[in-house]
Every structure is written in structure tokens, then in C-alpha cells.
């Protein structure tokens, strides 16, 4: 078999010089921030740091190392960034084969937007498919880069009015249709401003803000600073419309991260255990734009959680990118 040497794109003509022609070398890989799961003989896929100083077209190098016992053949490398970021090309094919311990490097170009203010998390993924090598057939590497500072706490991310007084319901818009929880009915159910809420082993706190002001977060990938060490991260909230579920990512002080999925039932009509959530409180009726109504129908608050690595100190959490998830608080459970 020929040694790996020629890397070419698939499916499109690419101008000369757009792609690096890189010979296989032993272990020239740049470690990724979150390397793919590896054993001593597993194929590794690593992604070079991405220059995020946009707007620009940046070059990214993906290194595939064959740590398996056999030569690696029919190697194809794909690369992608955050959704909507153009990549050229999307797939590269490596001609020839890679000896055990050898690496191939593929260069991609990616369109990087202007750096956004605030906190951003950018995740890049490269996947190698191949024959031979470690026999697995494919391997994936990811790189996550973030910039900016997380919000100080959940209150700093409040972007929605979920609770109003029955005497003034107009400010409310929990569900996008002008409806909100009744402060009076929540109090009757045990949820008062600043009051503690014990759920799933965590001590949470109901928002300590006046009725009719922003008191919860419609999740949109916000990064929230959070200190603590424990077994679970507990979320307090409920869903609107449907499909109020998503993945939260926890970043630890040592630079590593973990993630977990959770969801809430709709504040009214889903089964109370939908998505595996736990009912915390049920209030009677809701405030509509022109006053209290829907008496006899329960409008509810739930708790749910994702696992934490108890050995690590939590630094911040990135909320799911799903605006149907509304959060009143979050806390670490021992």
C-alpha cells in the first residue's frame, strides 16, 4: 500500500493552495480541549485551535493518528463548526494509507463571524472514517473554545416576566401569549418571593423580585456562573408550548466539562412526570392579559436535574438553547 500523502476534497473543485498537502508524521497532533475517548490503541482525532478573531476565514487543521495495530486505509475526514458557519471543504479524503503510529493532517477553512459581546461557546467537530487501524471504523474529536465572562448568576439572565399580581396582569408573558402565574396563587402553593424551595436534594430559592418584573430565564444558551461541588445540578422551572427539553453543559474549574439533558412538562397540560421531571408546586388558574382566569386548571412548577462530577468544582453552566424551557433557579445538590 502507498503511504498516505495526498489529501483531497470530495465533491468540489478546490483552488490550489486552499488545502494543505501534509505527509503522514508520527504524532504531530495538537491536543484538543476535549479529546475524543481514547485507549492506548484507539484512533485519535484532534483539532487545532481556531482563530475566532472574525470576521475572517480561518484555517483549521485536523490531525488523525492511527494508534491501531493495522494500517489505516480509505481515510476520510470531515469537519464542521457551529451551525451556519461555512466550511470548505466539508470532507477530505486521504489517499493511500497510514502506518501504525502515523498521522495525517487535513486543513479546512472556516468562515468565522465577528466576535460577539458577552460569553460565547464555540464547538468544532471532526470525524474520521476509515478501514483498518483500530478496527472501529470511525473516530470523532471535538474542540470547544469559549470567550467572555459568564453572567454572575441566574438573576442576571432574567429575560421574562412569569409572575404577576392579579391586580395587574398585563406585564406577564410567560408563554408568549401574555399569560403568567398568579403571585397570589403561587403563594398559596408555597412559592413566595425569596422563599426557599427544596427539590431533588437541592436548596433553591424562588425569585426575590416584585410581581410583574422579569423573574425567570427563557433558556437560550446563556452561560451562568455557579460555584459548588456536588452530585447533581438541579433546575427549577417549567415549560411552555411543547418540547421544553435540551442539554445543559457544565464547565468545571479545571477546564473540563460535562453535559446532561433535561426537560420540563408544559406548565399546564403535560403529564407531571413528562421528561422525568418532578412536580414542585401547583397553582390554581393563571393570570391572563386582562385579569385572573382559567380557575380550576393547574399551572405548575417542576424540578429536574443533570449529573455532576462530584470530584470537581463547578465554574459555570451553559443553559440549553431552547426558549421553551423557563428557569426560576438552579442549584447544586450535594
Amino acid at each position: 500500500m502507498r503511504p498516505a500523502g495526498l489529501i483531497r476534497s470530495l465533491g468540489a473543485v478546490v483552488a490550489a493552495g486552499a488545502l494543505a498537502l501534509l505527509p503522514a508524521t508520527a504524532s504531530a497532533a495538537t491536543p484538543s480541549v476535549t479529546p475524543s475517548p481514547s485507549a492506548a490503541t484507539a484512533t485519535t482525532v484532534s483539532i487545532s485551535p481556531v482563530d475566532l478573531d472574525g470576521p475572517a476565514v480561518s484555517t483549521v487543521k485536523v490531525t488523525v493518528t492511527n494508534a491501531g495495530p493495522e494500517r489505516m486505509r480509505s481515510l476520510k475526514v470531515s469537519f464542521g463548526g457551529p451551525v451556519g458557519w461555512a466550511v470548505q471543504p466539508s470532507v477530505l479524503q486521504v489517499d493511500g494509507s497510514l502506518a501504525k503510529g502515523a498521522s495525517a493532517e487535513a486543513a479546512f477553512r472556516i468562515q468565522v463571524p465577528e466576535r460577539r459581546a458577552g460569553f460565547t461557546v464555540r464547538t468544532f467537530t471532526a470525524t474520521a472514517t476509515y478501514r483498518g487501524g483500530d478496527g472501529a471504523g470511525s473516530a470523532t474529536g471535538t474542540r470547544t473554545q469559549h470567550s467572555g465572562t459568564p453572567l454572575a448568576n441566574l438573576a442576571a439572565a432574567y429575560n421574562n416576566v412569569g409572575v404577576t399580581d392579579e391586580s395587574d396582569t398585563k406585564p406577564g408573558n410567560y408563554d408568549g401569549e401574555g399569560n403568567s402565574f398568579s403571585a397570589q396563587k403561587l403563594a398559596a402553593a408555597g412559592l413566595r418571593p425569596g422563599g426557599t424551595v427544596d427539590a431533588l436534594g437541592a436548596e433553591l430559592r424562588w425569585p426575590d423580585v416584585p410581581s410583574g418584573t422579569e423573574d425567570n430565564v427563557s433558556a437560550a444558551g446563556q452561560a451562568i456562573a455557579l460555584n459548588g461541588r456536588g452530585s447533581r445540578l438541579v433546575f427549577l422551572g417549567s415549560g411552555v408550548t411543547s418540547g421544553a427539553s435540551g442539554t445543559a453543559t457544565v464547565y468545571y474549574a479545571d477546564g473540563t466539562s460535562g453535559s446532561g439533558s433535561f426537560g420540563f412538562p408544559n406548565w399546564s397540560f403535560d403529564p407531571a412526570d413528562a421528561h422525568g421531571a418532578t412536580l414542585v408546586a401547583s397553582s390554581d388558574g393563571r393570570n391572563r392579559p386582562h385579569g385572573y382566569g382559567n380557575a380550576g386548571i393547574a399551572y405548575r412548577v417542576f424540578a429536574h436535574s443533570i449529573p455532576l462530577d462530584p470530584a470537581k468544582q463547578v465554574a459555570f453552566v451553559v443553559l440549553p438553547g431552547n426558549g421553551n424551557i423557563h428557569l426560576f433557579d438552579l442549584a447544586v445538590a450535594p
Partner: protein, 477 residues
């Protein structure tokens, strides 16, 4: 300019080229309704001829502008050029010499250097092009003159900015591409709406990924021009109305098409591949004439053949769809549509009072509940650096909400700093290709027509464009 050249047969209703092209694919068998009509083979580059992609301007300490065409548009833009730092208007030309004198008088009265005047004949511009103190030629004549004047300016060694469209026929578009490559001079469409504040914010949001993977976009030029078209003074010799008597083309959809194309990175990773056109019956102008135009007006001898609403559906190599509309003969409020959508959201411009800028937006995960949101906060966050930097100047100096001045300021900056154009000849040709291609598709009963790749393969490469990095205007010494 008063003298109209003979109109090419290819732009006549049911144009010869369109018919020829359609039949050529179906000789000897029933036409395949799904097959695209091949517009024309891609011409080969001459030996030594090279692409102008990513070619920077040579550094110009001062940009000296010569203007051809001093009607409403040209006269207004001449003032704009004269106030851009580091730019001076050195020559002005119009077939009507009195216009050249009036514009020169106006610049002198404003304290600007008095430009040389050219006029009195339809080839007066060729004498202006011989001047060695003109770096950039701006052309704002009737459409039928753009190609010849643009090409002549390139051959004279000038960079060129041409009002819409740069040309009206495919072979002319190719010739401008080739002439730009051979002369190593840039030619760009004066596509001011590509520098619109909403359009640029939309572009930056697309690049950020807020709309997810872009799947479709809509744009157009929907402007009730009936009163102006029948005016005896606004369009010299009624040149624009005359086009409605002799062509079925989508004349002027570029203002809506170009910003969508930019957001889809057309010629920068994607390209437009096919176009299919539809047209409604031409009712609007005749109806307006019936109600408002005296019977002794010369327009009563005219028959209008350009459909009121000409719609082009354009597909791209990445499977996206663009709808580009053109309607200047129906009663309606102004709109360029300007809508972009993808797997995670949508932006719509001209959507009423939801935001101060007229746009509305819905992007996940920021939004849910099936209700539109104001565009204001997004326009503020994704405001293009050009508007942050010169927005106030643009409001004070330019027409069309400041877009004209932004285009002019940026063009001068690119030339003075020696940068790569935001809009090049390939973009300009691609955005203007629907003019002849819509004629071809309509003649072929709406069959898709292939859109040429004016980059000759370079479209696959990612590169910078209107979403540019902030840079300073070189200081004026």
C-alpha cells in the same frame, strides 16, 4: 443621454436567443420539462488572463472620479463622491452639455474643485476616458449604455462603478468579466442596498449562525414607479418606460437579490445554478395611462410587454432557493422584501411597525411561541462597522437612507487603502444575470435556465466580502 441604440433582438419579447436556446435542447424529441436550458458555454480565458478574485486595488492616495450620466441619479451621486474624504470629482459628462455645466457649477459653488465638463454628443464620454486624472468612472446612464461605457472605461484603465444593471445580455456580462480580468481593473455594480443597515445586519447574523443553515431567501424591487415612468422629465426621453415596451426581463431585481446572495455567500462558497421565471400580465402601466395620462401623450403609441410582477426562482449549488421579484408598475408601497430563513430562524424586512427599522425576526433559541419579535436589538448588536463609523455622515450626505454614501465611502476607502473590493465583477455579473436569463426562461415557458459561473470555478472558495473587517480611511494629507 437622448439617443437610444438599436435594441438587441435578444431582448425582444420572446427573444430569439431564448427561443434558440430552448429549441436547441429539444431537437428531435419532446422537450424535457425538467431539464435546464443551457444559456451558453463558458468562454475560455485567453492565455495570460487571470481571475480578479481577491485582487486588491492599487493604493490611490486620492481617488479621482469621472462621472458619466448626470440625470437624477448621476447628479445626486456626484455630490456624494465629492464629499467622501480623499475623493475628488475631476470630470463630469452628459450628452446634454448643460447638465455637465450645472453639476460643475454646483461643485464649484460648494467649494470643491471644478471638474472638467464633457457633453454635446453620445460619445463625449470617450474623450473623458482619455484623461489621466480619472481613477474611477461612475456610470449612471440609461441601462442600454452601461455595457459599452463600462467596457470602454475598463479599457481606458479605469476602475468602474456602474448603476444597475452592468449589462443586459449574457455575452455582455461575460465580456465585462473578461475585460476586467484582462485590464486588471475592477468593475462593480453600484448595489447600494447591499450596504443597507438592515441588510448588513442580516448578513452578519447569518454568518453568526443565528438562522442556522440558510435554506432560502427572498428579495426584490417592488416600487410603484408609474408616475415617474410617465413623467416627461424624470427619466430622460422616457428611457425606462421604453424598456417596458420591448423586453420581458426582470430588469432591476438586484436590490433585493444581492443582499440575499451575500448572506448565502454566493461566489464565496455557493453559487446560483438555475433560474426559472414567471410573469404576470402587463396590466399596470396601461391601466395607469388610461386613468391619468392625456390622450395626446406619446405613451399612447406604446404597448407594454413587461409583466407587472416578474418572479425569478433561483437555485444554488448548496440547494438553497432565492425568490427575486420585480414590480414597478403596480400600486403598492415600496418593498425590497429582504427576507432570509434557515433551520433555526427567519428575518423579514418591510414588516411594519414591530421595530423602528421595519424588520422582524424569529430565531431559536431566543424566541418561541410562534410570534414575531422586534429586530431592533439584533440590528444594534449586529450593526456593521461601516454604519457605526460613518452612519451619521451617511445620514447627512447620502440618499436612500444613507446607503449611497456608505457605498461611496467604502469604495473610496478600498481604493485608497489598497484593499480587495467587497463587490467584484463576478458578483456584479451574477446579480445581473437574471436580466437576460429571465427573458430566456419566460420564452421557454418557465423552464429553468442555467446560470453561468462567472468565477469559472472559484466560487467554491470561502473568502471575505461585504462582512468585512473594520479598517480606517487613510488620513487625507
Amino acid at each position: 443621454m437622448s439617443k437610444l441604440p438599436a435594441v438587441s433582438r435578444r431582448l425582444l419579447l420572446g427573444g430569439a436567443l431564448a427561443t434558440t436556446g430552448a429549441l436547441a435542447t429539444g431537437v428531435g424529441s419532446a422537450p424535457d420539462a425538467a431539464a435546464a436550458v443551457t444559456a451558453a458555454p463558458v468562454p475560455r480565458r485567453r492565455p495570460g488572463q487571470k481571475s480578479m478574485v481577491d485582487v486588491p486595488y492599487a493604493v490611490h492616495r486620492t481617488v479621482r472620479v469621472g462621472v458619466i450620466g448626470l440625470g437624477n441619479r448621476g447628479a445626486g451621486m456626484t455630490t456624494g463622491w465629492s464629499v467622501v474624504p480623499g475623493c475628488t470629482v475631476t470630470a463630469v459628462c452628459d450628452i446634454r452639455a448643460d447638465r455637465a455645466k450645472r453639476v460643475a457649477d454646483g461643485l464649484a459653488a460648494a467649494g470643491k474643485p471644478r471638474p472638467a465638463e464633457y457633453g454635446g454628443s453620445d460619445d463625449a464620454y470617450t474623450r473623458m476616458l482619455r484623461r489621466d486624472d480619472v481613477d474611477l468612472v461612475y456610470i449612471a446612464t440609461p441601462w442600454e449604455f452601461h455595457y459599452a461605457q463600462g467596457k470602454a472605461a475598463l479599457l481606458a484603465g479605469k476602475h468602474v462603478v456602474v448603476e444597475l444593471p452592468i449589462a443586459t445580455e449574457l455575452d455582455e456580462l461575460w465580456d465585462l468579466v473578461d475585460t476586467s480580468e484582462r485590464t486588471r481593473r475592477h468593475l462593480m455594480l453600484s448595489e447600494n442596498c447591499s450596504y443597507g443597515r438592515n441588510e448588513l445586519a442580516m448578513l452578519k447574523m447569518a454568518h453568526e449562525g443565528l438562522f442556522g443553515d440558510i435554506t432560502n431567501g427572498h428579495g426584490g424591487y417592488l416600487h410603484d414607479l408609474r408616475e415617474l415612468l410617465f413623467s416627461d422629465t424624470y427619466y430622460t426621453d422616457a428611457w425606462r418606460r421604453r424598456w417596458h415596451t420591448r423586453s420581458t426581463a426582470s430588469f432591476y431585481a438586484m436590490h433585493g437579490l444581492a443582499p440575499i446572495a451575500a448572506a448565502m455567500d454566493i461566489n464565496r462558497g455557493d453559487r446560483m445554478t438555475t433560474l426559472r421565471a414567471t410573469a404576470t400580465e402587463p396590466k399596470g402601466l396601461a391601466d395607469y395611462r388610461e386613468r391619468f395620462v392625456p390622450r395626446n401623450h406619446p405613451s399612447w403609441k406604446e404597448t407594454y410587454v413587461n409583466g407587472d410582477l416578474v418572479t425569478c426562482l433561483i437555485e444554488t449549488a448548496k440547494g438553497r432557493v432565492i425568490r427575486a421579484e420585480h414590480d414597478v408598475s403596480s400600486p403598492r408601497p415600496y418593498s425590497r422584501i429582504n427576507s432570509l430563513a434557515g433551520s433555526r430562524g427567519i428575518f423579514e424586512d418591510y414588516a411594519g411597525v414591530l421595530s423602528s427599522g421595519g424588520g422582524r425576526v424569529y430565531v431559536e433559541p431566543d424566541h418561541s411561541g410562534h410570534s414575531w419579535r422586534s429586530f431592533d436589538s439584533y440590528r444594534k448588536e449586529f450593526d456593521h462597522w461601516l454604519w457605526k463609523k460613518i452612519g451619521d455622515d451617511a445620514a447627512n450626505n447620502g440618499g436612500h437612507g444613507g446607503m449611497d454614501y456608505v457605498l461611496q465611502w467604502r469604495t473610496v476607502q478600498l481604493m485608497r487603502a489598497g484593499l480587495v473590493p467587497d463587490i467584484d465583477v463576478y458578483d456584479s455579473a451574477a446579480w445581473c444575470a437574471p436580466v437576460p436569463l429571465s427573458v430566456m426562461s419566460l420564452a421557454a415557458k418557465g423552464r429553468p435556465v442555467e446560470i453561468p459561473d462567472f468565477t469559472r470555478g472559484a466560487w467554491v472558495n470561502l473568502r471575505m466580502g461585504l462582512d468585512s473587517r473594520a479598517t480606517e480611511m487613510p488620513p487625507v494629507v
